[in-house]
């Protein structure tokens, strides 16, 4: 117990110092790539409830800095609710995958490794719905994407950090045509938490 406490105190003391050390190195090209887990909530204009699916996330961001605390770049993000070992009989009545490519901005409001991020661009959603007694129906649409989140760079070396990332991504993809039941103005909101390797 005491050793854990000492470890926590040491972490609290050391991390801000190392984070500040990293700030001075935050210039030029940077890359962040990570994996995580997430939940997608799919709603529509006339929906009285949302469909919820859980899955994996992955992303890569690359960019440069405008200043010590403002970074800009491009981001590729994906969400997939299919798990390789999932038995077929436990499959959800709806499967959702979405991917987005966005321009993104990272803002480090203080000297620490904490940052806020936002992005916008294109999003593509793939939905497979399995109505009762009917073969699965798959539909794909492309629309607007919007991203928000926050993160924390935990430096390992001067230019290398482990990054904790929390975020939300909105994919506004329009109407989905299902047999007999078109769904209007679909918006998928994906919330994710992940961990990334970062060089900046």
């Amino acid at each position: 117990m005491r050793s854990r406490l000492l470890l926590a105190v040491a972490a609290l003391v050391v991390i801000p110092v190392v984070c500040r050390a990293q700030e001075s190195g935050r210039r030029g090209l940077w890359v962040e790539t990570g994996l995580g887990t997430g939940v997608a909530r799919v709603g529509c204009s006339a929906c009285t409830d949302v469909s919820v699916v859980y899955g994996r996330t992955g992303w890569i961001r690359i960019g440069t800095n405008l200043s010590q605390r403002v970074l800009v770049g491009a981001e590729l993000f994906g969400f997939d609710d299919r798990f390789p070992d999932e038995p077929a009989e436990t499959a959800d009545p709806m499967e959702a995958r979405n991917a987005s490519i966005m321009g993104s901005v990272l803002w480090f409001p203080s000297g620490s490794g904490f940052f806020l991020t936002g992005g916008l661009g294109l999003a593509r959603g793939t939905f497979t719905v399995t109505p009762p007694d009917v073969p699965p129906v798959m539909t794909r649409r492309t629309g607007s994407g919007l991203a928000f989140g926050m993160g924390l760079d935990l430096p390992v070396f001067r230019y290398f950090a482990i990054t904790l990332d929390l975020g939300a991504r909105l994919a506004a993809i329009g109407d989905i045509a299902l047999p007999g039941t078109p769904i209007d103005d679909v918006i998928a909101s994906t919330y994710h938490a992940g961990i990334a390797f970062t060089v900046r």
Partner: protein
């Protein structure tokens, strides 16, 4: 486009942005004021205007958090014009607390997000979130700069207070912050970067003729205000919106507010040397468009990147200016016969666009200009459609006397809307304007 921006490695020195003379930013106070704006506006709507939608409670908050985003059915003017005005209050709560442009951006989103979830009983509206946030940033930064230029912190007495009052009209949140801190009377050097002499204002008044294909001509009076803040060829990039333009057109009896258009430089640089005979700049701009005329309604929030060139002609001061940009429409709105959902009569969607312009100018003043803008929108809310728009126009100016000129404007706008299960909708719209202009001549050599 952002990827292209990311590939350019800027000089950190040029990327530094102003804090208006403050020692440090106050993000917590900015966040508190952002939320306070929502509280005050909501309570005003609920108690004074008796708006049903403003009667929020824990149940509405819970429902909004559970169901999430939708697209709303509000009127075109409400969605595309009023929301950016609301958003500028959030942005300027941050600017008033010494945060720079980029640092203030998250506060526009914070204010808009919290309003959508907690300020209205309706489900959060994604189109409102886009328009309030991005429009608020564009409008907010321009109003912040205008108000900062109106103030003169080296004055004292009535002249000083009257300027503070005038500035507060443009930036009320900034004005209230300054009042609370006793800065309406405190004498100090003016913050660098805000020069009233850098603005060029042009008023135009005249007659307008519009005609939609197949319809008869309609005539009305029309008034324009152009506000140009600096010339990108006269000033190297320093900070976002260090160069911007704003145009407002009103036609009494011809649709009222016809046009509000702004373009602000977010980032830029130069390919050529500053003393080169022919100069070429690259630029990344934020665009805001609101068009509501007798033939169509169109609005967009967009980003664009491109190249501006100035080609010297002969040995004098005559030059040809060209501009080519490509851009993304983050969210556009356009009306159409099959458009909208419910009572809404227009579609929402993202898109792409290209702008091309060529102008003949003398000492920086334009005498002849031709432009062409193409837009393609794909509906994500409304009737499933692809909308293609082509705006073409020309302006000619003739100087008459000091500051006064005569102008002629002609435009031909065309649109095609393609629906998967309905005939194509094609429309064209012709507009002609003949007008007198007055340009803020004292500082600009008496040219129109």
């Amino acid at each position: 486009m952002m990827a292209a921006l990311a590939m350019a490695v800027p000089s950190p020195a040029t990327a530094q942005v102003s804090r208006d003379g403050c020692d440090r930013g106050r993000p917590l106070l900015a966040a508190a004021q952002t939320l306070a704006v929502n509280y005050v506006v909501n309570r005003f709507d609920a108690f004074v205007l008796q708006a049903e939608w403003a009667g929020v409670d824990f149940e509405s908050w819970s429902r909004n958090l559970r169901l999430g985003w939708e697209w709303d059915e509000n009127a075109f003017g409400t969605n595309m014009f009023a929301h950016p005005i609301h958003g500028n209050l959030y942005f300027n709560a941050a600017r008033a607390n010494c945060l720079n442009f980029w640092e203030a951006v998250p506060f526009a989103f914070l204010g808009s997000w919290t309003w959508e979830y907690f300020g209205e009983m309706h489900r959060p509206s994604l189109n409102d979130f886009f328009m309030t946030s991005f429009g608020g940033i564009a409008l907010g930064e321009m109003l912040h700069q205008v108000s900062s230029s109106v103030r003169d912190t080296e004055l004292t007495g009535g002249a000083r207070v009257s300027r503070e009052l005038a500035a507060a009209v443009f930036d009320p949140i900034g004005g209230l912050n300054r009042l609370a801190r006793g800065e309406w009377t405190r004498r100090r050097p003016n913050p660098a970067g805000y020069e009233a002499a850098d603005y060029m204002v042009r008023f135009a008044a005249g007659a307008r003729r519009v005609r939609e294909a197949g319809a008869s001509n309609r005539y009305s009076s029309t008034f324009l205000i152009d506000l140009n803040y600096r010339d990108p060829f006269e000033r190297a990039y320093r900070a976002p919106y260090d160069v911007f333009t704003l145009r407002l057109q009103v036609s009494p009896g011809g649709g009222g507010l016809n046009l509000l258009r702004s373009l602000g430089r977010l980032y830029g640089g130069e390919f050529s040397a500053q003393d080169a005979r022919h100069r070429h700049l690259w630029t990344v701009n934020q665009r805001f468009d609101y068009v509501d005329n007798l033939a169509y309604r169109y609005g967009e929030q967009g980003l664009e990147a491109g190249v501006l060139s100035r080609w010297r002609l002969g040995d004098g001061d005559l030059s040809l200016r060209t501009e080519v940009t490509v851009g993304a429409t983050l969210l556009g709105a356009i009306d159409g016969p099959h458009a909208g959902i419910g009572e809404r009569a227009y579609d929402f969607g993202p898109g792409v666009g290209v702008n091309a312009e060529v102008a003949l100018e003398h000492r920086g003043r334009r005498y002849l200009a031709l432009y062409n803008r193409w837009r393609s929108l794909r509906t994500v809310s409304g009737a499933e459609a692809d909308h293609h728009l082509l705006f073409t126009g020309t302006t000619a100016m003739v100087p008459l006397t000091r500051g006064i000129g005569l102008g002629l404007y002609l435009s031909d706008d065309r649109r095609t809307s393609r629906y998967p299960d309905a005939p194509r909708d094609r429309r064209s719209y012709l507009e002609g304007r003949l007008f007198l202009t007055w340009t803020d001549a004292a500082r600009h050599g008496g040219l129109p």
